[in-house]
Each structure stands twice: as C-alpha cells, then as structure tokens.
Amino acid sequence: MEARHLSRDYVSTKRSHFIGKKTASIVRALDHIDFEIPEGELFGLLGPNGAGKTTTVKILCTLLEPTGGKAFVKGFNVVKDAARVRRIVNMVAGGERMLYYRLTGRENLKYFAELYDVPKKEIESRVNTLFDLVGLSERADDEVEKYSKGMKQRLQICRGLINDPEVLFLDEPTLGLDVNIAKDLRKFIRERIVEEQGKTVLLTTHYMYEAEELCDRVGFLNKGKLIAVGRTDELKRKMPSGFSMEVLVTRLTDEALEGLRRLEQVKKVLTTAYEAEVEGEKIDRLIVNIDSDRATPEVLNCLSKMGCQVVSVNIRGPTLEDLFMFYTGG
C-alpha cells in the first residue's frame, strides 16, 4: 500500500445569514503525504482529532477521491481501479454506525457476504467462524439494536472481515469501548488478524498506548502533514534525550515553566491537561524531557522555588505520546 503526495482539500461554505451570499474557503485535510506499507504489516496512523486520519483511510478504501497525488492498494490505483480495490479491502470504523439495527447480527453478515459475492456454500461457515472469533455466537440471532456498544463494535469487526480482505482499515476501532473490551479487541487484531491471517492493517487512533501496543510502524499525522514515519524504537532514538519526567503539580505559573526551560539538563517542557484537583486546587501535568535521571532533583527544586506543589513524579523512558509531542511541539 502506498501514498504518493496524497492531498485532500475540502470546500467549506458559509453564509453570513440565512439568505446571505455563500462564501467558500478551502480546508486542507491532507497535505502531500507519502508513505508505504509492506504486506502483512500493522501500520498505525496517529494524530489528534482533525489530523486527517479518517480522510486518509477513506481515500485508500475508495470512499473519497484525493484532490492531489496518488494512492495504491496492492498495486491498484484507488481512483482508476476503484472496483478492484473494493474487492480486496474492507474498513471498520469506530462508533455504532455501519450496521442495520433492525436485522440480527447474522442477517447483517449474510447481507454483506452477498454484496461481496462470497461463495454461497461458504457464507454460513464463514459467518459462524467470525462470530466464534469475536465471541458473539450466542447473540448472533439477536437484533443488533439489542447489542451493547462493545458487541456492535465486535460485529463491525466481523463485517470488516466478511470478504476475507487482504487489506483491512481500522479507523479508531476502540473508540468509546470500555477498557477490557478494547484490550481484547487489540489482542484480537494483533494475534488473529495480523499474526495468524497475515493481513495488512492500517490502524488509525489517537490513543498512543494503543499504537504502541499494536503497531509494527507508526506515522504521525498533524494538521494534514505526515511529520514522522518509522518503527517506534527508531523514532524514540531520535528524541534528544532518553528520559521523561511526568510531574503532576498544583499552582503552576508561567514563571515556573520558564524557570524549568532555562535549566541546562532540561531539553523540553510540555504541559498537558489533567482533569483533576487536589484539595480544591487544579492539577497540571508536565512532561519534562531530561538528559538523564540525575536532573530530577534540579527540576523538583526549581518547581518548589517557584511556589509549585508537586503531587507526584514519574520518571520513564519516552512513550509514543512523548514522541508525538516532540514531533508536533506539543
């Protein structure tokens, strides 16, 4: 699978008032991105909301046309050979859409099997196998509207696999699922879909830990631009230092942040939202990129001098989240 200078612009129109004149503006969702995914790889496309992940997936599975560049799936151009591409791909999106709620799970899968021209003799066994795979066999004959969110998501996975696709797109597949179900689903994707069946998977997510747990390689997408691609360990080596301090503090001030940034052993300081309070005071989360763990006392002293109250400290090697913040500047 390959993307060459792939771009996508959306035209956004607005009216000044109900019968006012329309004004159009161009929103660039994808900005000349290039990547290649070898067969059998689980590639993660990471980025915040609105980064262009879903747009990329929709172009690659022929639901959307690019406004620039080219994309190929198994050597087929996604625009010119769209009909061929559709036969070998499938897509699973997060959320509870793309299913017929008034039909049973089994009826849904049989319907999609017909659309994909699955041999008649194979439909029943394939449907049963898929239900077994995702642990839905006992509820296969219930209407989808009676399913829980997690069950609908598992049924979506079955729908995505019904045509035995060579390439599977998973667009935020664990969105809104509870921790245990999401964990099971990740295990299923890694072990059953990639390792056992050897399928090529493009996974999009904004959960960094999910990509870290699953992907062979990742790409960071931010504001439509692909800013880094590689194996996570390779990307981590490119970080200016090997350690990150995660510090939860209260009474954080701009002066304190400036003070930290002036310290010699501190490479980068980022603040992220942390929605919690301690004794009525708001907690801020700091990611402090340091040369070595010996810089810890210096960082804590600095915060203390500036009147900040340290709630907790955690020193660790860089995570994908740190990497993402490093590449995007937070």
């Binding site: 035209v11 959307l64 999106a93 859409r97 793309m98 017929y100 008034r102 319907y111």
Partner: protein, 271 residues
C-alpha cells in the same frame, strides 16, 4: 452477482420494513382511508360512470373502477418514492458508506431497493382491493387480456424505473426527501388521477404526457373498464415502454453521478 445483490437488497429491506406483525396489519389497513376518501369524493354527485376521451373515442368507465385504478397506481408511485427514502435511512445509520465500500453493482442495489418496495406494495394492493370489494362492486369490461397484461406490466415497470431514479436522487442529495414530497401533489394533478384528462387545460397536457403515471392510468383504465384492445392503447403502451428505458438509463447515470459527487465532496457520511 447482479441478482445476488438484488435479492440481498430485497431481503434486507423487507426484513427492516416488516419488523413486527403490527406493521403488516396496518399496511393492510392504510389504503382504506384513501379509498374511502376517493369514494366519497364522487358520492354527492350521484354519478355512476366517468366519460373518458382518448384517441378521438369516448369511453364510459365505471366510476368506482376509475378511482380504484387511480388509487392502485398512485399508491405504487408513492411506494417508489418511499424506496428512495430508504437511502435517507441508510445515510443516517452510516450504512450508505458500508454499501459503497463494497464492490456491489450500484444499479443492482437501487433495483433491489425499488423491487423491495414493489413487493411491499403487494400488501397495500390487498388492502386496496379488499376495501373496495368490501364496500362497492366494480363493473369490469375486459376484451383483450394481452392488452391488459401489457398495460399492467408496463405501468408498474415504468414506475419501478422511476423509483430507481428517486433512489439515485436520494444518494445524490440530502434534499431528496424534499424533492420527492414536492412531486407528490403535482403528480396527482397532472396524471389525471381523480379526473379524466380531457378536463385538463390543453396548455398543461404536455406536462401530463411526461409522466408514466398518466399513460399507466389511461391504459389500465381502458383495458380493465373500457374493453379496449391492444391497437386502442398502442400509443400509451409505447410511451410506457420508452419511459421504462429512459428511466432505467437515467437511473444508471444518476447513481454514477451520485457516487462521483459523494466521493468528490465527501457527502456519503453526511446526514
């Protein structure tokens, strides 16, 4: 693969529509109100027959039969409009994207949608016939069964093709429902559903002759109630056959355009 997709669409739509036994019951009962409305529309005038002029000949048609055939075909036309509306539901539940993600033949998809509405209509048909037979008798005068058969087949087939156009329209635009609703009343007026066409101002007749419902009503009314032969209704039959072809080609073109537009403007997931 074409017929597999058609049958899958039919099965899916029927299962979704006939979700409960209550739906079945009300499908049978619904035409009753419309039938009574049409019957009482003429009752105060104490007329027993309607004079219909066609091809320089006058036919005296049984009034009940005249309105019954109007109701039969107009209900079918409405069902075809509704088959377009199913795509609105597909859009809302996100299944339109799943459908267009698949390699299924797009014409088969919309044909399956129209066909399921046509099969759904069978229940309405029972309801309409039952209600009319229960209340009043119809004086049927058939002389050419082949002409009647051709009238029925071509009338319904042309409307199925028109239904496919509506479905493509609903994929093309989120305002499909509005356009379809806007077409309901004019269709009723221009087709001569409740009055014979000779009452229509000549300037408006050209609009009537662009509507398959008009020719369907003429040919079915004349063959069922006026003992017309194949040669008497050759013109409306040819018009219906031509419209069937034109609407089929239009539907194929429209669904292609709709998919192209959706891919270019990212509208498949919008609702």
């Amino acid at each position: 693969m074409f017929w597999r997709v058609v049958m899958a669409e039919v099965e899916k739509n029927l299962k979704q529509f006939f979700f409960t036994a209550r739906t079945l019951f009300w499908t049978l009962m619904l035409p009753l109100g419309n039938g009574l409305y049409l019957y009482f529309l003429y009752l105060p005038f104490a007329v027993k027959s309607v004079s219909l002029e066609f091809n320089a000949s006058w036919y005296a048609l049984d009034l009940v039969g005249f309105t019954l055939i109007g109701q039969l075909l107009y209900t079918f036309y409405t069902m075809m409009l509704l088959s377009g509306a199913t795509f609105e539901r597909e859009r809302e539940q996100g299944t339109l994207e799943a459908l267009f993600l698949s390699p299924a033949n797009r014409i088969a998809v919309i044909f399956g949608g129209a066909l399921s509405s046509a099969l759904n209509y069978v229940w309405f048909l029972f309801g309409i016939l039952l209600s009319w037979v229960a209340f009043v008798g119809v004086k049927i005068m058939i002389s050419d069964f082949l002409a009647l058969f051709a009238s029925v087949v071509l009338s319904y087939l042309s409307l199925v093709m028109l239904g496919m156009c509506f479905e493509a329209l609903f994929v093309y635009s989120r305002r499909g429902g509005m356009y379809a609703t806007m077409l309901q009343e004019p269709m009723m007026f221009f087709s001569g559903l409740v009055f014979p066409l000779q009452a229509m101002p000549i300037a408006l007749l050209s609009v009537s002759y662009l509507i398959p419902l008009t020719f369907g009503l003429i040919s079915m009314r004349l063959t069922l109630l006026g003992a017309a032969s194949m040669s008497d209704i050759a013109v409306p039959l040819m018009a219906l056959a031509s419209m069937t072809l034109v609407f089929l080609m239009l539907a194929a073109w429209l669904i292609g355009q709709a998919e192209r537009k959706a891919k270019a403007k990212a509208t498949l997931a919008q609702f």
